[in-house]
């Protein structure tokens, strides 16, 4: 019985730790870098970087278009 209690308490502790981390991770932004070959790219664009930032989730619920 003691072993079961210890096991359940450990699982609960682990779940709490994962949940706490889950609240922190949204604020650890990762920057992913990729080199992309493009046909027809002008020399003036060579080496330029484009940043993609999406899904700000500003506001609550879907926008007028229905997209969340």
């Amino acid at each position: 019985m003691k072993t079961v209690r210890i096991g359940l308490a450990s699982l609960l502790g682990l779940a709490v730790l994962v949940a706490i981390w889950g609240l922190v991770e949204p604020y650890t932004i990762s920057v992913e870098r990729h080199e992309v070959p493009l046909d027809g790219l002008a020399a003036a664009w060579e080496g330029e970087q484009v940043a993609v930032v999406s899904d700000f989730q500003i506001g609550i619920g879907p926008g007028p278009s229905g997209e969340p």
Binding site: Y27, L38, A43, E46, V52, E67
Partner: protein
């Protein structure tokens, strides 16, 4: 901020004024969920040889992009699944819902028309639960190079 709904705009390289032949076209596809995605309309004004970046919210819209029209396309929407198991990057709850016909983030292989490539960004927000596990928010930086070099 200008919203591109089935339209394209030429962007001049930094340091140049006005749009010349060396423009990069940014193409915005309309909302898929609202039934307003019209990729052919969005691409109408892009000259055939011009470099372009095709942007959409929902990756499902990518299937309707004509072949060889989007060598670089970017979508979001999935949040990467938000909750993922360590060491199992292919697993997310999205795997088990109807919409999840494709992977949740990164380069998507074997999807869409020939000659097109899609990258799905995990986004920086979250929906429903304010949680992310093993799926950090993402900003993607693409470095552009000429394919013929």
């Amino acid at each position: 901020m200008r919203v591109l709904e089935n339209e394209a705009v030429p962007v001049a390289p930094s340091g140049e004024e006005g749009v010349q032949n060396d423009a990069l076209y940014v193409v915005g596809i309309g909302s898929y969920m609202a039934g307003k995605n019209r990729p052919p309309v969005a691409l109408e004004e892009v000259p055939e040889p011009a470099a372009r970046l095709v942007v959409m919210h929902n990756p499902d819209a990518f299937a309707g992009v004509p072949a060889h029209a989007a060598p670089l396309a970017v979508a979001g929407h999935t949040h990467g699944g938000q909750l993922r198991l360590p060491y199992a990057p292919e697993w997310t709850y999205l795997t088990y819902v109807a919409e999840a016909r494709i992977h949740a983030d990164g380069w998507i292989h074997d999807y869409g028309q020939a000659g097109n490539r899609l990258y799905v960004n995990r986004g920086i927000g979250f929906s429903k639960l304010p949680l992310r596990i093993n799926c950090p928010p993402e900003i993607t930086l693409f470095t552009l190079v000429n394919a013929r070099e």
